[in-house]
C-alpha cells in the first residue's frame, strides 16, 4: 500500500505543489482582505468628496472599521421571508460569492518567480495558467448574474423582483460590449492566455521611458469601453440599478440580512477587484514597468497592485461623483452607443494589427 | 478500463431520449423549450466526441453553429410564449387550439 501511494505522497510534498497551495490561499485571503480595505476606502473617499471625516473612531484613522462591520454582520439575526423559496434564497448569495472568487483563479499578478531560490523551478504567480484564460474570466463573470437574479426572484418581494429583472437585462446588455472590449486586447496580444497577453506588452520606446507597449494606446477606446461595461457588470454607480436605493429600497438584497447580505457585499467588492485586475493585465501592461528596471518580482507585484489600486480608486471616485442614470438611458446608452463603439473599435484594432504585421 | 467514443455516444443517446420524453410528456411550454435545449446539447456532445475521436475540429465548429441556432430558437420561442401567455394566461400547450384569434 505505501508503494502504491508513493507517487501521490511525492506529488503532495513537492515544493512546487506546496507553493501552489500557499499561492491559492494568498489569492483567497488576499481577496477577502482587499474587500475589507475597499469598504474602508469607499467610506473614506466618500467622506473626502463630501468634505466629511468618514469613520475615525474605531482604531487610528478608522482603520479597524472593516473589522467592526464584519463583527456587526456576524452577530445580526438571519431573517428569511415566509414566502421565499428556501433553497434558492440561500443558494443566491453562495453563487454570487463563489463566482466572484472563482473568476480570480486565472488572473496573473506577477512575473514567474522561484521565491528567492526556495523553489527548484520558477512558478507563475497566478492560481492556474489556462490557455483560454480571458474567456474563463468572461464565462465566470457572466455566471455571476445568477446570484443577483435568483436573489431577486427567491425573495418573493416586489422590490427584489424588480431589482433582479433589471440586473438580468442590464448585465446581458453590457456583457456584449464587455466581451468586444476584451476581444480587442485578445487580437493585439494574439493569445487567449492572460499571462501571454501581459508579456506581449513589454516593449518600451525611447530607452524604455515611455510605456508604449501597453495595449492602452492601440486600443484606447477599448479600455474606456471595458471600464464602462465593467462598472455596469459589477452594478456600481452610476449603473447601480439592481439596488437603486431611492427607487427599490435595496433592490435584489432587500430581504437579506446578516451573513447572506455580507456575501453579496463581499462579491460586489471582489468583482470590482477582478474587473480592475483584468483591465490592468489587458490594457495597462500588468506588472511591467515603463522604466527598464530589473528590481525583481516583488517590485513587479507591487507595480501591479499600484495599477489595480488606481483603477479601484477610479471606481469609487465615479460612484461619489456621478448621479445615477435613468433606466431607459442606460439601455439606450448600452445598445445604441457603447455596442457600436465597441464593434468599431474591434474592427479598427484588427485592421491595424493586419496592416502593421 | 478506457474511455471510447461509445461511452460518449451512449451518454448522448440517454440525454437525447430524456429531452424527447420531456417534449412529449410535459404540458408546460417553457419546460418543452428546455427539453429541446437538452436534445440540442445531446447532439452537441456527439459532435464534440466524434471530432475528438477523428482528430478534427469540424465537430466543434458545428457545435458553434448549433449554439447560434439554439440562441435564435430560444429568442423566437420565448417571444412566442410571451405573446401566447398574454392571450390565454396559461402555458399549457393544450390551451392553444385555435389557429386564429
Amino acid at each position: 500500500m505505501p508503494d502504491a501511494l508513493r507517487p501521490l505522497i511525492d506529488f503532495l510534498t513537492s515544493p512546487i505543489t506546496i507553493a501552489y497551495i500557499v499561492l491559492i490561499h494568498v489569492v483567497f485571503f488576499g481577496l477577502q482582505g482587499a474587500a475589507a480595505v475597499l469598504v474602508l476606502a469607499e467610506r473614506k473617499v466618500a467622506a473626502f468628496s463630501q468634505q466629511r471625516l468618514g469613520p475615525y473612531r474605531v482604531g487610528w484613522w478608522g482603520i479597524l472599521q472593516p473589522i467592526a462591520d464584519i463583527v456587526k454582520l456576524l452577530f445580526k439575526e438571519e431573517l428569511r421571508p415566509k414566502a421565499a423559496d428556501f433553497w434558492l434564497f440561500y443558494l443566491a448569495p453562495i453563487i454570487s460569492a463563489t463566482t466572484a472568487f472563482a473568476a480570480f483563479v486565472v488572473i496573473p499578478f506577477g512575473p514567474p518567480t522561484d521565491l528567492f531560490g526556495l523553489l527548484p523551478e520558477p512558478i507563475n504567480l497566478q492560481g492556474m495558467d489556462v490557455n483560454v484564460g480571458v474567456l474563463i474570466v468572461f464565462a465566470i463573470t457572466s455566471m455571476g448574474v445568477y446570484g443577483i437574479v435568483l436573489a431577486g426572484w427567491a425573495s418573493n418581494s416586489k422590490y427584489s423582483l424588480l431589482g433582479g429583472l433589471r440586473s438580468s437585462a442590464q448585465m446581458l446588455s453590457y456583457e456584449l460590449s464587455y466581451g468586444l472590449a476584451l476581444a480587442s486586447a485578445i487580437v493585439l496580444g494574439n493569445s487567449l492566455s492572460l499571462r501571454e497577453i501581459v508579456d506581449a506588452q513589454q516593449s518600451n520606446l525611447l530607452g524604455g521611458v515611455l510605456p508604449t507597449g501597453w495595449f492602452l494606446w492601440p486600443s484606447f477606446f477599448g479600455f474606456i469601453i471595458y471600464m464602462i461595461a465593467g462598472i455596469a457588470e459589477t452594478n456600481r454607480a452610476p449603473f447601480d440599478f439592481p439596488e437603486a436605493e431611492q427607487e427599490l429600497v435595496a433592490g435584489y438584497h432587500t430581504e437579506y440580512s446578516s451573513m447572506s447580505f455580507a456575501l453579496f457585499f463581499l462579491a460586489e467588492y471582489i468583482n470590482m477587484v477582478t474587473v480592475s485586475a483584468v483591465a490592468t493585465n489587458l490594457f495597462l501592461g500588468g506588472w511591467h514597468w515603463p522604466f527598464p528596471l530589473a528590481w525583481g518580482w516583488g517590485f513587479g507585484v507591487l507595480n501591479w497592485l499600484l495599477k489595480v489600486s488606481f483603477l479601484l480608486f477610479f471606481y469609487i471616485w465615479m460612484r461619489w461623483t456621478l448621479p445615477r442614470y435613468r433606466y431607459d438611458q442606460l439601455m439606450t446608452f448600452g445598445w445604441k452607443w457603447l455596442l457600436p463603439a465597441a464593434v468599431l473599435n474591434v474592427i479598427l484594432v484588427a485592421a491595424g494589427v493586419i496592416y502593421f504585421s | 478500463m478506457e474511455l471510447t467514443l461509445n461511452h460518449y455516444l451512449a451518454l448522448s443517446a440517454v440525454l437525447f431520449s430524456i429531452g424527447t420524453a420531456g417534449v412529449f410528456l410535459r404540458r408546460n411550454l417553457i419546460t418543452v423549450l428546455l427539453s429541446i435545449e437538452i436534445m440540442l446539447n445531446a447532439v452537441n456532445l456527439t459532435f464534440v466526441a466524434a471530432g475528438r475521436h477523428f482528430g478534427s475540429v469540424d465537430g466543434q465548429v458545428i457545435v458553434f453553429f448549433v449554439m447560434t441556432v439554439a440562441a435564435a430558437e430560444a429568442a423566437v420561442g420565448l417571444a412566442l410564449i410571451i405573446s401566447l401567455f398574454r392571450h390565454k394566461e396559461s402555458l399549457s400547450p393544450d390551451v392553444f387550439t385555435s389557429l386564429k384569434w
Binding site: A139, S142, W153 | F64, L80
Partner: protein, 177 residues
C-alpha cells in the same frame, strides 16, 4: 487504479443525466431552468475531458450565460411558478388515463429502449482515441481558421439567422409596434 478521465466522465455524465431528468420531472419552471444550467455546466466539464476547452467555455458563455438568462427572464416576467399544477386542463404529467398523450409516453419509452439496444451493440467496437489527436482539437486557432475559411458561408448565414430571429422576437413579443 481507474484513470482520471474515466472518473470525470462518470462524474460529469451522471450529473448531466441526473440534472436533465430533474428538469423534465420538475414542476417549478424556475427550478427546471436552474437544473438545466447545472446540466450544461456538467456538459462543459465533459467537453474539457474531450480536450475541447474552447467549446466548454463557449458552452458556459452562450448557453449558461446568455440563453438561460433569457429563459430566467421570461419565467420571472410571467411569474407563474407551478402554473401547470392547478391547470383546468388536467395534470402536468401524462398519466395512463390521459387520452392521446398515452401514445407519447409509450413512444418515449420505446425510443429509450431502442437507443439502449443500439448502444449495446456497439460498445466494444471502437478504439480509444490517442493523445495525438488532442493537440489539434484543443487549439483555438484551428477552430478559428476552420470557421473563417471552410465554413465562412455558414458563418455569414448564421449572422443573417440571428438578425431574422432578433426582428422576429421583437415583432412577436412587443404589444404595439
Amino acid at each position: 487504479m481507474i484513470p482520471l478521465d474515466v472518473v470525470l466522465f462518470y462524474l460529469f455524465g451522471g450529473a448531466a443525466v441526473a440534472c436533465s431528468l430533474a428538469v423534465v420531472a420538475q414542476r417549478n419552471p424556475m427550478h427546471s431552468v436552474l437544473l438545466l444550467i447545472a446540466s450544461f455546466a456538467a456538459l462543459a466539464g465533459l467537453y474539457i475531458n474531450l480536450d475541447s476547452p474552447f467549446t466548454a467555455v463557449t458552452q458556459i458563455i452562450v448557453y449558461a450565460g446568455a440563453i438561460m438568462v433569457l429563459f430566467l427572464f421570461v419565467v420571472m416576467l410571467l411569474n407563474t411558478p407551478r402554473e401547470d399544477v392547478a391547470s383546468p386542463y388536467g395534470p402536468a404529467y401524462v398519466t395512463l388515463t390521459s387520452g392521446p398523450r398515452k401514445a407519447y409516453a409509450v413512444l418515449s419509452v420505446i425510443l429509450l429502449v431502442e437507443l439502449a439496444l443500439a448502444v449495446r451493440q456497439f460498445v466494444s467496437t471502437s478504439a480509444p482515441s490517442g493523445p495525438a489527436a488532442a493537440a489539434h482539437v484543443s487549439s483555438v486557432k484551428a477552430i478559428g481558421i476552420a470557421i473563417f475559411t471552410d465554413y465562412s458561408l455558414a458563418f455569414e448565414a448564421t449572422s443573417v439567422l440571428i438578425l431574422v430571429a432578433m426582428v422576429g422576437a421583437v415583432v412577436l413579443a412587443k404589444k404595439k409596434l
